[in-house]
């Protein structure tokens, strides 16, 4: 069934489409891509920040302040902490002497 008419039609259909000049199209696409990436980065930063800000009123700051106020006397009265501090001071002073 392949006569001259169908051959001509096939040739016409197989002709490549006309080249479309870029004329700034690709630059516009890249500009939109960059803008959407910037938006995405802002959102990635802003959403957690807003979440933290929303949580702030519910955080137990008063209890935290009380704990912090009691912490130094607790640490001062702690044997293991005193030993650890002594070990650190000894190590530091030994290192200084060896360097000298």
């Amino acid at each position: 069934m392949n006569d001259g008419r169908t051959d001509a039609l096939d040739a016409l259909l197989a002709r490549p489409l006309d080249e479309v000049a870029d004329d700034g199209f690709s630059s516009r696409v890249v500009a939109r891509v960059s803008a959407s990436e910037r938006r995405r980065h802002y959102l990635a930063f802003l959403v957690p920040l807003i979440g933290v800000c929303a949580l702030v009123p519910f955080l137990p700051f008063s209890e935290f302040g009380d704990t912090m106020a009691h912490l130094p006397p607790m640490l001062a009265g702690s044997g293991p902490i005193a030993l650890a501090l002594a070990a650190l001071i000894l190590t530091f002073s030994l290192e200084q002497r060896l360097r000298a």
Partner: protein
Amino acid sequence: MSEDQALVQRAAAGDAAAFGALTRRHQSKVRGFLRRLTRGDPAAADDLAQETFLEAWRKIAQYRGEGAFAGWLFGIAWSRFLMERRKRREEPLDDVSEIAGADPQPASLARIDLEKAMARLAPAERAALTLCYAFGHSHGEAAEILRLPLGTVKSHVLRGREKLQALLEGPS
């Protein structure tokens, strides 16, 4: 590794410049395909082409290198075109009776060129004929791009050719 695949890898890692290079390489084909789908409306075609490339950027990590990158872009362009058409309700989705039911004033080959005749086909026929003839895809590849069964694509190609022949020949 082809140049497209290398650029795709870089783009998937967030390199916008590599994606720009991909856009420059394929913009003509995608815009040409969409111009045919939109019946030669360059503004509508370019809007859809922009959306196509933006969606391609968002989904570039999903491209697995199976088939040509241009084919993957055509698939996105086709689904964008369908979404836009559903929004506007321009023309029925499978209007295969468009020609058969029309007033038979078929123009002669001298009066009507291929693009005008193409504009009278159903969108799926335009798409299938363009992919299989102008871009040289197989029926199977066109079926994957258009997400249609193979038999449907073959039928679109066959029917589209018959309609075009009738339109281009005119009254005998």
